[in-house]
């Protein structure tokens, strides 16, 4: 009996090891552990064994049964793995073949840049404001302390719709519209389309500006610098150097232009920065008292700063684009790069 069990064990393990496929393995299982299997028969026949042997024989038979079951399980996994591998070799995905992609849309670069800039300023507490693209001369020029025949008007080649109505040449008129409709404090950023009669290698007749205005008690030039430097460091990176130099705008006094270290050469001097190491980015200054008077604000009560930047120029600089005209040509091969 004992020998018989041992023979079954050896035979079974042998057959399991040599089973070449699941089918054969299943046959082996049935042969030994099936309802009519050899081992099952023995276990059933235990009742006829002498009681004193029954316990030891039973134990031995059960051990063998477990050993066979475990071997079957092990071999089964091996065979499955082998079969999957065989399947894979017949049907392996080509990782170099393109997947089924949905069509990918792209936000226009100008939109991306506007959103990024607006977000930086809204993080500081500026709200978005807007105004009409077609403006009165009053808002575009006069209220911005640029009366008729002011020499600064020569710098703005203005599109006229009719007498007194123009395509706004900058986003500054929105300053006045906001101040007229709200009391201080005012903290706004104004993205928008602007227009000038200019169409050459570096000018487009339509372009985008972002205006900023902060008016409150005790707003000062140090804060103007702080806000704009924060913007530069967020947008162009922490290592970008910034400088402010005096300039002239009719609607700010003191006025400044802000330069950043050249985005190409980092300040060493190259063609882009005309070997100066600096790139002009925006104009800014403390709001001119005359502008406050137009707005009906008390010039002794409040001070403010304002700034205006060309979105297009900033986009070109950040992404090394050589012409503003790429922006409005809308060539998909261009748009899809951003």
């Amino acid at each position: 009996m004992k020998e018989k069990l041992e023979t079954i064990r050896q035979q079974a393990l042998e057959e399991i090891t040599h089973a070449a496929e699941s089918e054969a393995l299943e046959q082996t299982r049935v042969k030994y552990l099936g309802r009519k299997g050899e081992l099952t028969q023995i276990l059933r026949g235990l009742s006829q064994v002498a009681p004193e042997e029954r316990k030891t024989m039973g134990q031995a038979a059960n051990e063998i049964k477990e050993a066979i079951a475990s071997a079957l399980e092990g071999r089964k996994r091996e065979l499955e793995a082998k079969e999957l591998e065989e399947q894979a070799s017949r049907n392996r995905a080509d990782l170099t073949l393109p997947g089924r992609r949905p069509r990918i849309g792209h936000k226009h670069l100008v939109s991306q840049v506007i959103e990024e800039i607006v977000d930086i300023f809204s993080g500081m507490g500026f709200q978005t404001a807007t105004g009409p693209d077609i403006e009165t001369e009053y808002y575009n020029f006069e209220s911005m302390n640029t009366p008729e025949d002011h020499p600064a008007r020569d710098l703005h080649d203005t599109f006229f719709v009719k007498d007194g109505v123009v395509l706004r040449t900058h986003t500054s008129p929105v300053q006045m519209r906001v101040m007229e409709s709200t009391n201080p404090p005012v903290a706004v950023v104004v993205p928008g389309r602007t227009f000038r009669v200019d169409n050459d290698a570096s000018h487009s007749p339509m372009f985008f500006q972002i205006e900023g205005l902060l008016v409150d008690k005790e707003v000062n030039f140090a804060e103007l610098k702080g806000a704009l430097m924060h913007f530069v460091h967020s947008f162009f990176g922490k290592d970008t150097a910034v400088r402010f130099r005096p300039h002239y705008f009719p609607f700010t006094e003191p006025s400044a232009e802000m330069d950043i270290s050249c985005t190409v050469c980092g300040g060493q001097g190259c063609r882009l920065c005309k070997h100066q190491g600096w790139l002009e980015i925006l104009g800014c200054g403390m709001v001119h008292p005359q502008v406050f008077r137009y707005a009906g604000y008390d010039v002794e009560e409040v001070t403010g700063f304002a700034f205006g930047m060309g979105v297009d120029r900033i986009a070109l600089l950040k992404h090394s684009i050589d012409s503003i005209h790429h922006l409005y040509e809308n060539d998909l091969r261009f748009l899809e790069q951003f």
Partner: protein
């Protein structure tokens, strides 16, 4: 403006490198656009004296000169010029010299005779355009002297951008003044030693009358007699050349020289061409005209200020002189003008005549009446010396109401409040004084200053604060992040909604375009839109016909963009633009502006893929996207057929959102495609975002989903071919009762096995209950009712 460093140094001590000075000026607000070094590459050019001139034995047009450069042995030089004589001193290039451009000179043979050097014209020295003859130097220069230092050719020229507020910077003295103020150095303005001739009084020869002192606050003139019009000295030509001005003759050159130095424009008339030798400053009369120095005959009118003699206009005041009274070689007597004109009038005149000159640009910025006199006398003194003329005693100086200097008070505390810095009071007042302001009154908290005549830009305290800030240095102010008190109300809530919509449309696979917001009637009509004269906002001064008006639709821009991309081989396109369109409005100052969303599709439905066949887009693609966007707005629109000529008939729809027209979409008609040179099927949509954003949106209310599984049943019916599928679906819904949860149309079929006038629709009906799992028994009654109604009302038959 081009400013020479040597010239600046005549007025102020500068102890820094040109690069440092450029940086210094830039940080003062005089932006330096470029720094150019002159004379750098001229080496070893010396003063030589011609000892003899002999004909060249082998060439008619050449001579053999012996020129002494002070080395004892004269150099033999072959020369092609003819304007020299024995004894003339000329710039002489010796063996091993270098000329501009690094051009090296050595010994060489010319037609068999050795030449040991070269004698130079002004062109060869890079100081002028006259290449015709040798540059003859004054007799008193010393033999062998270095020509570079003699003529100050070794110079640095700064190109300065002068801002419109600072007319005083448009001259060397103004720039020097700024440097002196910033460095705390003295500005050294030389006294003018003008020696006048007593043989006649200016007032006995000529007279000046100002018609309107508003337009001409000051007019000063001097009379110069027996002038020798000729060439200017070499040093002056070199200076003018450095400043970018062409030498003409000594009289004109001196007026230009003084203009550059003082920033004040002068004009010289040939006195003998002035009728009655009189000067009258007046408005032109309608019908008068003048031929200006540029040879152009110009019609004048009441809005142009002129200088006239007793009979006719002789100059457009402050802009350009007349040809008839120009100083030329035959001129003997000169009327030299130095005046101040009203900036606005000059600007106006300059624009209406389309004539922008050095003079007009300066007068537009505001001239300095004090400088007018200084410039006149400086020029007169120079002319006495270099034009060999007598300056008659007396000035014809009409200055009826001398300008009263403005006074402006600066509060020191205010400066520091505005700047956010602590600039000590004594430094503040020192800065202002250095700039030429005089202190009228000073207390511990404030000072009142008298504004100098050249500072038209300083009108109030803020202007003085800027001066303090400039001289203190913008860089010295420590930046600080502003603390902003948050306001409640959102000023442009629609901006955020538009931005989210943009994200959504990009997410649908569309690429955003931004096209120029212009348009024109023809393009507009070509796109099947209204483009009549009154339908568009037109521009008075458009850049081109193409951009003659403002757009009234986004479609022309999208179609043009589509054509551009098709031309560049991009066949599959999904484009959108979000932006404004503009319409004229009666009885309103400003036109109206509306937000629109435009979509364009062409090419394949999906990006090409190796695993499947391509399918081109059709009407139902654009419709699906329109539906998706309307669903984004939470709207259930209705559509009705559109007959807009933009679209192919039968392939177009108008959108109604809550009964309001909210846009249209469809396939572009062949006519429109042709007009935009598009050879492809193109589908477009234009949605009115003002309408869509304006429809009030209530928050969607939660409906619980039924907990029991749905019971699905398909229905296939034959219906008349032209019956809208929507009618079927609507009817099914009407009769579906509470259990009907959804109706999906999953097939539309016409063709084989279907009668010609019929189509087959396949619907999937979804029944679901909140109470139990449904079976066919629970829905049979509803099903039967639906089938019956379909038959009765729509003539449908179950298949």
């Amino acid at each position: 403006m081009r400013v020479s460093l040597n010239w600046l140094r005549e007025f102020v001590d500068i102890d820094m490198s040109p690069e440092q000075l450029a940086d210094h000026l830039t940080m003062l607000g005089l932006e330096i656009e470029s720094v150019e070094r002159l004379g750098q590459d001229i080496k070893n050019v010396r003063v030589g004296q011609i000892r003899s001139i002999e004909p060249h034995p082998n060439a008619d047009k050449l001579t053999v000169c012996q020129t002494d450069v002070g080395d004892g042995q004269p150099l033999q030089i072959i020369c092609g010029a003819t304007n020299m004589k024995v004894g003339d001193k000329v710039p002489t290039v010796v063996d091993g010299s270098v000329l501009p451009g690094g051009f090296k000179i050595g010994r060489r043979k010319m037609r068999g005779v050795e030449s040991q050097g070269m004698m130079c014209s002004e062109t060869e020295l890079g100081i002028g355009e006259d290449a015709g003859g040798l540059l003859i130097l004054p007799e008193d220069v010393s033999l062998g002297a270095d020509v570079v230092s003699l003529l100050e050719l070794d110079d640095v020229v700064f190109e300065i951008e002068v801002t419109p507020n600072r007319g005083d910077w448009a001259g060397v003295i103004g720039v020097a003044r700024e440097i002196s103020a910033s460095l705390g150095e003295e500005l050294e303005l030389p006294d003018i030693h003008l020696i006048t001739s007593e043989r006649q009084q200016a007032a006995d020869v000529s007279s000046v009358t100002i018609d309107d002192e508003e337009l001409c606050p000051r007019y000063a003139g001097r009379i110069l007699v027996e002038a020798e019009v000729g060439e200017s000295p070499a040093w002056m030509k070199a200076r003018l050349h450095a400043a970018g001005v062409r030498a003409i003759n000594n009289v004109v050159d001196i007026t230009n020289y003084v203009l550059i130095e003082t920033g004040h424009p002068l004009h010289a008339f040939d006195l003998d061409t002035l009728t009655e030798k009189r000067i009258i400053v007046r408005r032109a009369e309608d019908g008068e005209s003048i031929r200006t120095l540029d040879g152009v005959e110009r019609k004048l009118d009441r809005d142009v200020l002129i200088i006239a003699d007793a009979k006719r206009p002789v100059a457009v005041a402050g802009i350009m002189g007349g040809e008839d009274t120009e100083v030329g070689e035959s001129t003997q007597n000169i009327f030299l003008e130095s005046a101040v004109f009203n900036p606005r009038f000059i600007r106006h005149g300059s624009r209406s005549l389309g004539l922008i000159t050095e003079a007009s640009q300066r007068f537009q910025r505001g001239a300095d009446p004090a400088m007018a006199r200084y410039a006149l006398d400086t020029a007169a003194a120079l002319m006495r010396e270099y034009v060999d003329t007598d300056v008659l005693e007396g000035v014809l100086d009409e200055y009826p109401s001398p300008e009263r200097p403005r006074q402006v008070t600066l509060r020191y505390l205010r400066t520091n409040e505005v700047l956010g810095d602590e600039v000590p009071p004594h430094r503040q007042s020192k800065f202002i004084q250095n700039l030429g302001f005089e202190t009228v009154e000073e207390t511990s908290t404030a000072s009142t200053f008298r504004v100098p005549t050249w500072r038209h830009d300083v009108r109030e305290e803020a202007d003085l604060i800027e001066e303090v800030a400039r001289l203190h240095g913008y860089g010295a102010i420590e930046p600080e992040i502003p603390k902003i008190a948050r306001r409640g109300e959102d000023l442009a809530p629609e901006e955020m909604r538009l931005r989210r919509l943009r994200e959504f449309v990009v997410g649908l696979g569309y690429t955003e375009c931004i096209t120029l917001a212009f348009g024109n009637p023809e393009d507009t009509k070509a796109a099947g839109l209204n483009g009549g004269a009154g339908d568009m906002v037109t521009l008075m001064n458009p850049l081109s016909e193409k951009h003659s008006a403002m757009r009234t639709s986004l479609l022309p821009g999208l179609l043009r963009t589509c054509a551009h991309n098709l031309n560049h081989g991009v066949d599959d396109q999904a484009l959108f633009e979000m932006g404004p369109v503009y319409f004229p409005r009666d009885n309103q100052t400003l036109p109206s502006q509306h937000s629109r969303l435009g979509l364009l599709l062409t090419g394949r439905r999906r990006p090409a893929h190796w695993s499947e066949d391509d399918a081109d887009m059709d009407f139902y693609d654009i419709k699906g996207y329109v539906e998706a966007i309307l669903e984004y707005f939470g709207l259930q629109p209705t559509f009705r057929e559109s007959h807009q000529t933009t679209f192919l008939p039968g392939q177009a729809a108008e959108i109604l959102a809550g009964d309001k027209p909210a846009g249209c979409f469809g396939q572009v008609a062949p006519g429109a495609s042709r007009a935009y040179e598009i050879d492809a099927d193109v589908f477009v949509a234009e949605l009115d975002l003002d309408v869509l954003l304006g429809i009030p949106r209530t928050p969607p209310q939660y409906r619980p989903s039924p907990p029991y599984p749905p019971y699905l049943r398909d229905m296939a019916i034959l219906v008349p071919r032209d019956l809208p599928a929507g009618d079927v679906i609507e009817l099914v819904w009407e009769n579906g009762g509470e259990l009907l949860q959804d109706v999906q149309l999953f097939d539309v079929y016409t063709g084989e096995r279907i009668p010609e006038d019929k189509k087959s629709l396949a619907l999937n009906l979804v029944f679901q209950s909140h109470e139990k799992t449904l079976s066919s028994n629970d829905t049979q009654a509803i099903w039967d009712r639906i089938v019956e109604q379909l038959q009765e009302r729509l003539g449908a038959a179950l298949r």
